[in-house]
Symmetry: C2
Subunit: 193 residues, 2 copies
DNA sequence: GGTATTATGAACCAATCGGTCCATAAGTCA
DNA sequence: TGACTTATGGACCGATTGGTTCATAATACC
């Protein structure tokens, strides 16, 4: 019909996601987003609405992407190994350079916006529930294939892992010692044996 | 010598602490603080410096208070029971009313400011280290008094609890189901047996 | 090539941000 | 009571906040 967009919407959204992920909602200004996304104010507002709508879109993109990634990792190989790899990866992903780590955006938002924003809170509830379901499924599989010896209810064991997840993500974001965290993971994972 | 302060400095600091605790650093404006502390702008700046300095003072007051509280709880009764009470209290303290829970200010700041503020980050590192030390001490005591059966190194067990702590605090702040969290604690604490 | 349609950049907006300044009120001490 | 010291409230500051508006440029279609 007419003049086409000069930017890739999905790619711009990804840049916004990265910025919100690193700095959180309040500390991210529209100027930050404009620079990161590389487009002009009117384009941004036309394509995404305001700051809050852009944030929610970026957050949802993050959640979907991470959900798929988790599902994929947990499906590979013996369940116990898959679960271990899932947690090890969190530590390994922490920026090796001096750059501060980003942690998990859902966890970050559980702290920042969830207490005062029902729409964010409900998303995070869903994230935890989804994570519990995936862990439960993986643990049940591990109890079948013999890689997980603990015969407690899979759901209960899963909840322990769900509890450990934000703990690990917070410590990673606060620049916790990676070697030490890996060591602690040994003990956590030995609970499954 | 001259006109005395009309406000109690410690009490005003406590109000600031509460506000920063609930809303975080960025989402708290000077206007919020003025209202919460009940004093005028010039008084606030004269007594506490700027926003950041006030925040650090409030944060340190929080950390000291909580550190003492933890120490006290862990010292009471058999070590295993004391540790259990410490964790149960975190869940119980979550606002029973509809009011959103505040979680732990150190954990909240591990997410919000720590990645970009070395002064905050070092405080949080110290908090984690202190917590690890207190847990280690309590667990060692429990291994002596027989309330803790697990004979793994006390320090390693302590690190597992240190990992669980931010996990629990984040879930509480995001309005996680209290009953379910208490149930999950059972499994975590059974690691000590 | 002309026309209709749409994306873009810049100018502009009120409101709020954290922070400073100062005249005045309210005390203390001699 | 008078002199000195200090706390207080309000006016004021420039910068930045998120957001809107509009003239212009660029493209697709006929």
């Amino acid at each position: 019909m007419a003049r086409p967009q000069e930017f890739n919407t999905a790619e711009a959204l990804r840049q916004a996601m990265d910025t919100f992920w690193q700095k959180g909602y309040e500390a991210t200004s529209m100027a930050d987003l404009l620079k990161a996304m590389g487009l002009s104010k009117s384009s941004l507002y036309a394509a995404f609405g305001g700051k809050r709508e852009l944030f929610l879109a970026a957050f949802d993109a993050y959640r979907e992407e991470r959900g798929r990634e988790m599902q994929q990792i947990l499906a590979q190989g013996p369940a116990r190994d898959a679960i271990e790899q899932f947690f090890r990866k969190i530590i390994a992903d922490a920026g090796d350079g001096g750059a501060p780590s980003r942690g998990c955006m859902s966890i970050n938002q559980a702290v920042e916006l969830a207490p005062r924003d029902p729409e964010v809170r409900s998303r995070i509830s869903r994230d935890f529930a989804g994570m519990e379901a995936l862990f439960t499924q993986a643990i049940a599989r591990g109890q079948m294939d013999g890689s997980i010896g603990n015969s407690d209810e899979a759901r209960n064991l899963a909840r322990l892992l769900v509890l450990a997840f934000p703990g690990l993500q917070v410590m990673v974001r606060a620049d916790g010692d990676r070697e030490q965290l890996n060591q602690t993971l040994n003990l956590l994972l030995s609970t499954l044996d």
